[in-house]
């Protein structure tokens, strides 16, 4: 037996998962059924990864339909397979894949919806952190205040109405006409573990982006009225520390 036969067996088995024929060296009570038996592994790999992708991108799946999604997943899995058994982070490049995938170019908002869904997944599993009490914001010099936001906080922006489309596909959605983008949203996880996707106007998105990167409240206010941003952060308890001038 060759010293590398274990790795050669694994290599041949792996190659056959994406080929027409099973690898050499397999046996079965009726050898004519080896291909049918091997197909179980091929199907399991494909179906379990497709299920994982659909679970992470449910609205993307709804938008194209389950059957088309499975076909699309097959191409994505072949070009961008997971590199870790921790599937919670898989799909960071799914939106970029969709943007380059000719069969969905007639759905120009699809990559942005997928990007929003990925942010939502990352917020779900982001690190924990305790919010500050609201009176931590009490200060004589509010313009000098800096806020540390919860690790789950992400700010989303898309040229198309991707946030409205995402919301329209939630179970409790009310029918509302879409308005032209751009769409902005705050993605974050509340202390009760609910992940929120809050639509934002352009100014509030800019204020939150500035606060998140460590600007003082005074500097962030150059982008617009900071009140709506602060109201959202307090309502969802997303401030985990405060600081003054550096």
């Amino acid at each position: 037996m060759l010293p590398d036969s274990h790795s050669a067996t694994e290599r041949a088995f792996h190659a056959a998962l994406r080929a027409a024929d099973p690898p050499a060296g397999l046996t079965a009570p009726d050898p004519s059924e080896i291909a049918l038996r091997f197909k179980v592994y091929r199907n399991n790999v494909q179906a379990s990864l497709t299920r994982a992708l659909a679970a992470a991108f449910p609205v993307t799946e709804q938008l194209v339909g389950a059957e088309f999604f499975a076909a699309l997943a097959r191409v994505f899995i072949a070009t961008s397979p997971p590199r870790s058994p921790v599937l919670l982070h898989w799909g960071a490049d799914f939106a970029a894949f969709l943007a380059q995938f000719p069969p969905v170019t007639h759905l120009p908002y699809l990559p942005d919806v997928a990007r929003l869904e990925h942010l939502r997944g990352q917020a779900t599993h982001a690190a924990d952190a305790m919010p500050v009490a609201p009176d931590a914001l009490r200060t004589d010099t509010p313009e000098a205040l800096r806020l540390m936001l919860h690790p789950s906080v992400a700010l989303f922006t898309a040229p198309m109405p991707a946030v409205q489309i995402w919301r329209a596909h939630q179970p409790d959605a009310r029918r509302a006409p879409l308005t032209a983008g751009p769409d902005h949203a705050l993605v974050a996880r509340r202390p009760d573990f609910r992940v929120i996707i809050e639509p934002l106007d352009t100014d509030t998105h800019a204020v939150l982006t500035a606060l998140r990167q460590g600007d003082t409240l005074g500097t962030a206010a150059h982008h617009g009225d900071p009140t709506p941003a602060l109201t959202l952060l307090l309502r969802h308890e997303l401030i985990i520390a405060t600081g003054g001038p550096e």
Partner: protein
Amino acid sequence: MRPLPRTPGLSFKPEHFRDIMAAPSAVGFFEVHAENYMGEGGAAHAMLNALHADHALSIHGVGLSIGGAGALCRDHLARLRKLIDRYQPQSFSEHLAWSSHGAEWLNDLLPLPYTDETLATICTHIDHVQDVLGRRMLLENPATYVTFAASTWSETDFLTEITRRTGCGLLLDVNNVFVSATNHRFDARAYLAAFPLEAVGEIHLAGHDCEELPSGPLLIDTHGAQVANPVWTLYAEVLARTGPLPTLIEWDTDVPDFATLLAEARRAYSLLEHAAIGQPHAA
């Protein structure tokens, strides 16, 4: 570290969390897949913490690819170590299978030939896991659909030799035995007669699907249905030899309501009680 209780346990599914908290004494232990708890924070960890406060915990890995030809992934072992240090579960188990190739993760438990070479590789891998985790692990027998012409060991001899060389324990999946025996047309009782039951630290029971091949049935290990009657029978026969053992009802796809899982657990419980009476001197 106390071992798992010799009672029924259930796969933990987040959708059952409220039901579990409402009746915390109904089940002896819960089992989770390690890889689902490798995010940094959030509801998954909060639920697992709450669950583990009231119940023994088994962490069941699906990501190590112990049966692979290459070295184990150090990053993944480090993640596992962190998880096990954090939760101090009563048991950690993994599979006699491979599931990644190079850097690619395949998300399925794939089979391997049983040879002197694969035996040596797997024992090196298990030594590595037990070193890094600082504890004894259990290795689970697989459900398979093909076998390898190159195999020179029977699966039971292979597993026995692994336990002898590494000191690891075994997780006996009785459904996997029945699935493999049906698929490869061997006698499940002969397999169990040759199985090193003294090394078994936990039992798995699960449901399977059936496809018809021209030559006869091909059973698919789906973890998506009730445990089949012949599997219950084999389980009772194992218990008659071993006495009560921690027994997981494993249900991972098409997960039903919690009451359905509890009904399966009760069926295991009655067989465990019967085994305890049959073996008054069992530990």
